[in-house]
């Protein structure tokens, strides 16, 4: 035990006295984490440059452009669509929004499609930008839609009220029409009852008889006068009969028209009632409900936090992987390069003690760094960390041990420090690329995805995410735990073999 401590002490002294190594290996990752912590302590995007273009800026376009301009977005109007798109290509803009000319709502024959030109090569940014900018535009679009919907709703309500009001008038009209029909029928009936028959021939015969009976001139004159009066009466009677006939016809026509009107008014009333009923049957009259009949709500399974919170497990695994690999490789190659390396072999100290010494030296430095990082993380993740700190520590030590052993294997196998460090960097980069850090592993072909899922980096990241973000119980980590233990044993054996290989090389 004392010898292990002695080796650790020596390794730390050597590392600290080599100022360049110390600053790169010890301070580098800490600085990185500190900067990342400061940079990603928020949850929004910053300084997103948006290029906009429209051949004719309408009031609505200007409103949308103004909506986009805030702390997050710097909006620049370009003189042409090409300039705007080129701006994205050359990195001047993160996104280019091309507005249709004279963009307005409700104007026929004018397209209202806003085209966003984005650079998909910036895969890690493009979705965030699109999401943010779409939200901004859709907020304004929703406002406009809301206004339009409100107009429709108001019109509909006014119509309903108006129809209800007019429904009584229709009823009155219908009643009037019925009354008119009845009156007309009465007129016809009374006209029919009106008798305008007069036997003029009998009267003529009577007057002729009377004329034959008298020779009195006066009487005859009177008879002539009577005859003239009868002619006049007869003429009047004929006119009355004609008028009666007309009254009957027109009364019938009025009656028929009133019947038709009554029927139509009944239909109109019915239709009005149906329309009113239909309008009243519309239950959803809230503007928001009509605008978004189906509401989606994204509820995070963990509490909404800053980028730092989500990044923390990944950051932790990156730091653990890179520091462990590089530190172990560096320590082993440095040790191999020292002239004292040979002397170690001829002491009565076994190889395992040296391996343990190197391993624990790396672990010690890593633990110191982790304490600092956890101190920083404490500010953001106090509650989450407190409950899982013990389990997280066990897993971090397990993960770190694997990477340290990998680093040691590389250190023992490669001749020069430069190539060994390069190999470590390459391996770390390889593991980083085949993980969820840059792109989700779901984006790689299934066969490679299976391989990537066994990547110690992926396993480590999964474990830390489950633990830190979701406080997963130990039982939920069984697969990762067994895999990591398997890796630990494998690389332990490989490290022993690699050290033996180095020994043979020296001899």
């Amino acid at each position: 035990m004392l010898r292990i401590f002695n080796i650790i002490q020596k390794n730390l002294k050597l590392l600290i006295r080599s100022k360049a190594s110390a600053s790169i290996i010890i301070l580098g990752p800490l600085l990185l984490v500190l900067l990342v912590g400061l940079a990603f302590s928020g949850s929004s995007l910053n300084n997103i440059n948006v290029g906009v273009y429209s051949s004719s800026y309408s009031e609505l376009t200007n409103i949308l452009v103004t909506t986009m301009q805030d702390n997050q977005f710097v909006v620049t109007k370009t003189t042409s669509e090409l300039e705007c798109i080129q701006g994205v290509k050359y990195g001047k803009f993160h996104v280019c929004a091309v507005f249709p000319p004279d963009l307005s709502v409700g104007t026929a024959n004018i397209t209202s499609t806003i085209v966003f030109h984005v650079d998909y090569s910036r895969v890690n940014l493009v979705y965030s930008i699109l999401d943010t900018i779409s939200k901004k535009v859709s907020v304004k679009a929703s406002e406009l839609s809301g206004e339009l919907v409100q107009v429709l709703l108001d019109t509909l309500e006014n119509s309903r009220i108006s129809l209800i009001e007019k429904k009584d008038s229709i009823t009155e009209l219908s009643t009037s029409a019925s009354q008119t029909k009845r009156d007309a029928d009465n007129i016809v009936s009374e006209a029919n009852a009106l008798s305008l028959t007069f036997n003029i021939n009998q009267t003529e015969e009577d007057l002729n008889t009377l004329e034959n009976l008298t020779n009195s001139t006066s009487a005859l004159n009177i008879i002539d006068d009577i005859r003239e009066d009868f002619d006049a009466f007869n003429t009047g009677l004929a006119a009355s009969l004609e008028a009666k006939q007309k009254i009957k016809e027109q009364g019938t026509a009025i009656s028929d028209a009133s019947t038709a009107s009554t029927q139509k008014l009944t239909q109109l009333k019915s239709s009005t009632e149906t329309i009113i009923g239909n309008i009243e049957s519309i239950k959803i009259r809230e503007r928001e409900t009509i605008l978004n009949p189906i509401k989606t709500q994204i509820t995070p399974i963990s509490e909404k936090k800053s980028h730092w919170n989500y990044l923390f497990p990944t950051l932790l695994i990156i730091m653990v992987a890179f520091v462990s690999l590089l530190l172990a490789t560096s320590l082993v190659t440095k040790e191999k390069a020292t002239k004292a390396y040979f002397r170690n072999f001829i002491t009565p100290t076994s190889d395992i003690i040296f391996l343990l010494g190197t391993y624990l030296s790396c672990l010690f430095i890593l633990v110191v760094q982790l304490i600092i990082i956890f101190g920083q993380a404490w500010y953001f993740l106090r509650a989450e960390l407190l409950s899982v700190l013990g389990v997280v520590s066990i897993f971090i030590i397990l993960i770190a041990s694997i990477f340290i052993l990998i680093g040691m294997v590389i250190g023992y196998l490669f001749k020069s420090q430069e190539t060994a460090v390069l190999a470590s960097m390459s391996l770390a980069g390889f593991m980083l690329f085949f993980s969820n850090t840059i792109l989700p592993i779901e984006s790689i072909p299934p066969s490679l995805k299976v391989l990537a899922s066994f990547n110690p980096f992926v396993l480590g990241e999964a474990v830390l995410k489950k633990l830190i973000l979701f406080q997963a119980p130990f039982s939920a980590l069984a697969f990762e735990l067994y895999m990591l233990i398997g890796y630990l044993l494998l690389f332990l054996v490989l490290t022993i073999l690699a050290k033996e290989f180095t020994k043979r090389k020296i001899s």
Partner: protein
């Protein structure tokens, strides 16, 4: 001058690296308490012989006995009773003299108090006590060699093996080191095995000299015995005659020849720089 029976014995040792035969049926006896020198041209197998002795490499054939016990079977003795200083310095240049000794002492399972005691003793013996807090990187070649020997002696070994310890040292430092080795041999009764191709100092320092050539010991004896046997005055002459006799194709460079060659090279360098400077 032999002080006892064979302490270390090489019995028919053969060592090959691939197809290259380095040691060919080597047989050698090293007495207790003496300084035994092994001389031979570069590539004659001196270092391999020492590596075999410390158990760092294993022979293809034969055995090495230490106090009549096979060192391979009794390796723990080798590590605790042998001290070894390789051709190149074997200490951490970023540690101080004291830290190096403490580190290696610890690897030899010494207690803290023992380490302190032996460090003090050794630093006084090797006359580098004043620089005990100095980072090894800043030590001169001579001091570096002394530290290397100190590291080899920290566990108080019975046998000190030195592989070309005076290489790269100037004549004054070489003389000092030779005196130091003698001091260690005498004061601590440490058996010293030393290899070198600098024959003058071997002649001066060693009680017994073995001439290693083409993988085996050609002749072994005290310097006076060897001179008498070959009827020659110096070890240089003896060595040259052996090499010539066996018609060795490669040329062995003696210490004097080496010095002459160095002086010639130095002159060339000076003339080149002088010429350049004049031009400027």
């Amino acid at each position: 001058m032999r002080k006892g029976p064979p302490y270390i014995e090489f019995e028919g040792i053969t060592k090959k690296y691939g197809n290259t035969l380095v040691l060919d049926n080597l047989t050698l006896s090293i007495p207790y308490g003496e300084i035994t020198g092994i001389i031979g041209p570069s590539g004659s197998g001196k270092t391999t012989m020492l590596n075999l002795l410390i158990g760092f490499v294993k022979p293809n054939k034969g055995r090495i006995l230490f106090q009549s016990r096979n060192i391979i079977k009794d390796f723990s003795n080798v590590t605790t009773l042998f001290g070894f200083a390789a051709q190149e310095f074997s200490f951490y240049t970023d540690l101080t003299i004291e830290e190096n000794l403490a580190y290696f002492g610890n690897l030899y399972k010494l207690k803290k108090s023992e380490i302190k005691l032996r460090t003090d003793e050794l630093l006084k013996l090797l006359e580098i006590d004043y620089a005990r807090k100095t980072i090894a990187r800043s030590l001169s070649s001579g001091m570096g060699r002394r530290l290397d020997i100190a590291c080899s002696l920290i566990h108080n070994p019975k046998v000190l093996i030195l592989d070309e310890p005076t290489q790269d040292l100037d004549p004054i430092l070489r003389k000092e080191l030779v005196a130091t080795i003698r001091k260690v041999n005498k004061e601590r009764e440490t058996t010293v095995i030393i290899t070198s191709h600098l024959l003058g100092e071997i002649d001066e320092m060693c009680d017994t000299i073995g001439i290693l050539y083409k993988g085996h010991i050609v002749k072994m004896g005290t310097p006076s015995e060897l001179k008498k046997f070959y009827n020659m005055k110096t070890m240089d002459e003896i060595f040259t005659s052996i090499v010539k006799k066996s018609e060795r194709p490669t040329v062995h460079v003696t210490e004097n020849q080496f010095k002459t060659k160095i002086k010639e090279e130095e002159k060339k360098v000076i003339s080149i720089f002088g010429h350049n400077l004049n031009k400027k």
